[in-house]
Symmetry: C2
Subunit: 342 residues, 2 copies
């Protein structure tokens, strides 16, 4: 950090009224983040309102560069357009910006970080990108396996929660589900189609290659975070009627031979990973259990029928708002503050 480091730092959460912003405040408190001051920012519409937080009642301030520039670290839970405009201005004023949007993730000179994997990529960066939720959850599970067996190819299908569209997404799913159960017709504003009792294989915009941007994010970002620039990774990203944890089925091929036992050993004790893989007791990763928790659940570990003794099938589940967003951002801030960035 370019500002004088003091035992405590001043932290800004920008976009605090959203689902991710709310979680950022909770996670900062829960992890005893060494802050001396926490300031909460949102648009003019919310400014002046009081927010009940684990830190007590806090008044929301209207976002201005001048106000946020009084802080050392800014966690941005805002749109990509907003980030593109203001993150560079804040960085120029000496603020370390951790941005949850996709605005900077693909810039070669901006680190894209999952702290368990590549905290060393942070270096002196003033703008650090927080990855796509699906990617962060997946990468935490892949890294320990990659380190041991060398990841060669990955095929991923996702089961993504409504929270990926923020609080309005969760609200729409609940309200429209209620509506359908009362015999009504489901309508939709947040999602492209009605989500209750449906699956929608369409998240973010379609690209020229037929993949959605969400699917390509998983490919591009996994490559960058795990430093496997050409990793053949193919994703099908699907929105399903769950609330806040993403699940993912992954079929993996490795350079070296692998067994489920060796995989469990590699994953055992890996940071951010909780092995939940006890079929006899009906234990495997599920949104029901992963929601509200920091660790990514990894289970259903089995020898891949397709890739044989060089392959695994696994199932992972992680909280989209936590490891998929707020937790990872706060972990990056922890790295910055503690200097663990190389």
């Amino acid at each position: 950090m370019t500002k004088d480091m003091v035992p405590g730092v001043k932290v800004a959460v920008v976009g605090v009224t959203g689902a991710v912003g709310t979680e950022m405040v909770s996670v900062l408190h829960d992890r005893n983040f060494p802050l001396t001051d926490l300031r909460l920012f949102a648009s003019a519409r919310s400014a002046g309102k009081t927010l009940e937080t684990p830190f007590g009642s806090k008044t929301i301030e209207e976002f201005t560069v001048d106000s946020v520039a009084e802080c050392d670290v800014a966690l941005l839970a805002v749109s990509g357009d907003f980030s593109k405009e203001y993150a560079p201005q804040l960085a120029e004023r000496g603020v370390t910006v951790i941005d949850n949007s996709s605005a900077f993730r693909y810039d070669d000179d901006k680190p894209l970080v999952v702290p368990e994997i590549n905290a060393d990529a942070i270096g002196d960066a003033k703008i650090i990108a927080n990855p796509n939720c699906t990617t962060a959850i997946l990468a935490v599970a892949l890294q320990p396996l990659h380190a041991k067996f060398g990841l060669k190819r990955a095929i991923v299908s996702t089961y993504q929660a409504a929270s990926g569209s923020g609080a309005p997404g969760m609200k729409e799913l609940e309200e429209e589900t209620r509506n359908i159960l009362q015999g009504g017709q489901s309508s939709n504003k947040v999602f492209v189609h009605p989500l209750p009792f449906n699956v929608i294989p369409h998240i973010d915009k379609f690209q020229d290659n037929g993949y959605t941007k969400e699917e390509m994010k998983v490919t591009w970002e996994t490559r960058k975070i795990m430093r496997i620039p050409d990793l053949p990774l193919s994703c099908t990203a699907v929105r399903i009627p769950t609330l806040r944890a993403h699940a993912e089925a992954a079929t993996l091929e490795f350079d070296k031979p692998v067994t489920p036992e060796a995989a469990r050993e590699a994953l055992s004790g890996a940071p951010g990973v909780k092995i939940v893989d006890d079929p006899e007791n009906n234990a495997y990763p599920m949104p029901l259990n992963a929601s509200g928790h920091y660790d990514v659940e990894v289970g259903r570990i089995r020898q891949s029928i397709v890739f044989g003794d060089h392959g695994l099938d696994i199932f992972v589940c992680g909280d989209q708002l936590l490891k998929g967003a707020a937790l990872n951002a706060v972990q990056i801030a922890e790295c910055v503050v503690s200097g663990k960035v190389r």
Copy 2:
């Protein structure tokens, strides 16, 4: 058929009170199946009750071998144990049995049939197995691609509806979802865990290799139906909170080069297939649209990032109770009756 063929045949539906049995009756009517008599059978508990059907009010009879043996064709929508005991007895009495359970699917001397693919496997068989729902839906989409490009490997992740556990499964999902939305705790009897707003990567029993039996059914049955005995096919079968259509993400490798355009051409007009692949207009396979329809929707057809010019990623969706069960069984019966069995 060993009995004298008449223009119309006598048909029995056994297990008519279940979700699949109910649909069998509807499909027989909808397709103008050439029957002279339709008799509906269930356990003693339901016998004597009146069922409203598209054929009018019908009285449910108690299942006995003697009664069903008066029919030419019996569609069995009952448990595997029941089928194992009674199907051979009925076959011995000259009835052609089409069995929806998994009891006979893996017997070398029993055909396992998706009529669009291998009606010729029926031959003189008196017991014909109806495939697993996930398999039937997938195979219909794979066959035209296999015929043209030669299927080499397949990786499948499923999004399976509550109807896979029959009417009680659908009822539990609806009731427990209502319960949760009213602030209650979800309980579960039909499913291993609460299903509302959850995903459960566990359908049928776990096998020694770590896959569930549902997952292995997709592997075993696809191989048998498509006559690719060693096809490397790996499946992750996941129950999600939808009601009656299964969706599946599949990554496919072929012997020959393939393009999305060539794939669409191969699928275009293929029996049982409806191409729904117009991303610009937000059109792709979804339970919302596939439910209640005969055709399997195929879309999201794109060049696989993992398998390059020999690979495709696709998304399919089909009604679990129709192509996944009742429709396929009636189609088999149509083959038998019309003699299109070689």
